[in-house]
Symmetry: C2
Subunit: 203 residues, 2 copies
């Protein structure tokens, strides 16, 4: 159900067609709330049916039109209400931690491989999150640029600061994950001796 | 699908009835992989059908029996295979971060309340995870005690160290969340001025 609030948040920056929303989703709010394209179109239609957004037909190529959606007053109210309600924290399902707890059942090389992947995954994610944070702070990100254009100058600091703050949380979490993975590799060395796979001829 | 591996991991310590598994799940592996009780019983029956575990009837009270499950060789193989396969990292759905990114749409007091809840939630979780880590290190946790009894002394260091390491990852993550929440409260003060709710008469 958070998908609709992600879409409402996007639409506070500018009106979007379903196609635009999918593109924006992939490069902006989709970093914090993933949704497959196939969910976005039907959700927009449901939201239109509930009066949270309204569609107008716009030209699309020479012979065709598309529906472009704008947020309504009702949609803004729904977004605010959601932002103000207590967050339900989902119970934990942490597959990396679950595996680590039973590493004695994996060979040491598998355990190392698990942690190397963990480090690689979060290293890549942290890189992406840092790029996003930078694009927000410099106002170069297209969603941010559109949003700043729409709202008065005295709102700009806030708009930028909260989005950068959200990415700072992801970056901090990712860095904690990388650090945990490194400590795990050291722990495996302590418990099992250094990796046999390192420095093998031809490896 | 990770539920079955969590159950297999539990059963490497000792045979368990469905009832025991539910209890153990709640106080041990359930901290890293949550599953509702209603999923555990049918999953055990499916696993028995697939030969990963086997059931025997044991006495339960004066006039009744229960099925107690043990892991089979096939089950141990399935657990090892799962531990050695690459982890599929799920795309992010981070409602706390999504909300923070749009805090300009919440009033400052709602934004603060969101972050205070975030801090409280993770403070409670970190406390619980630290208790678990301590119960693992001291071998007082019943799952760990049963496990150590089953395996030779030279395995004990490993068994304990990996489980403590898993909880250290949760603790580090939780502490990063608390720190992020605190930085957010400071940011709101900077952007919006200090909280009006503080120190109000009668509050």
């Amino acid at each position: 159900m958070s998908l609709r609030y992600a879409l409402l948040a996007l639409l506070t920056a500018e009106p979007l067609t379903g196609y635009d929303a999918v593109k924006r989703f992939g490069g902006s709010v989709g970093y914090v709330w993933h949704a497959p394209d196939s969910q976005i179109y039907p959700e927009l239609r449901r939201m239109e049916g509930e009066g949270l957004i309204e569609g107008e037909q716009v030209r699309w190529g020479p012979n065709s039109t598309k529906t472009r959606y704008s947020i309504t007053g009702e949609g803004v109210r729904a977004l605010r209400e959601w932002l103000e309600a207590p967050i339900p924290y989902a119970p934990l399902r942490d597959v990396s931690r679950m595996r680590a707890a039973y590493f004695e059942w994996a060979g040491p090389e598998s355990a190392r491989e698990n942690l190397r992947r963990h480090i690689d995954y979060y290293t890549e994610q942290v890189g992406r999150w840092k790029d996003m944070r930078q694009a927000i702070l410099s106002a170069e990100h297209p969603s941010i640029a559109a949003r700043l254009e729409k709202y008065p100058a005295e709102e700009h600091e806030r708009i930028i600061a909260y989005k950068a703050f959200a990415y700072e949380g992801l970056i901090a979490r990712g860095e904690a994950e990388i650090e945990w993975g490194r400590r795990g590799l050291d722990l495996i060395d302590e418990l099992e001796g250094p990796s046999q796979a390192r420095g093998e001829p031809g490896s």
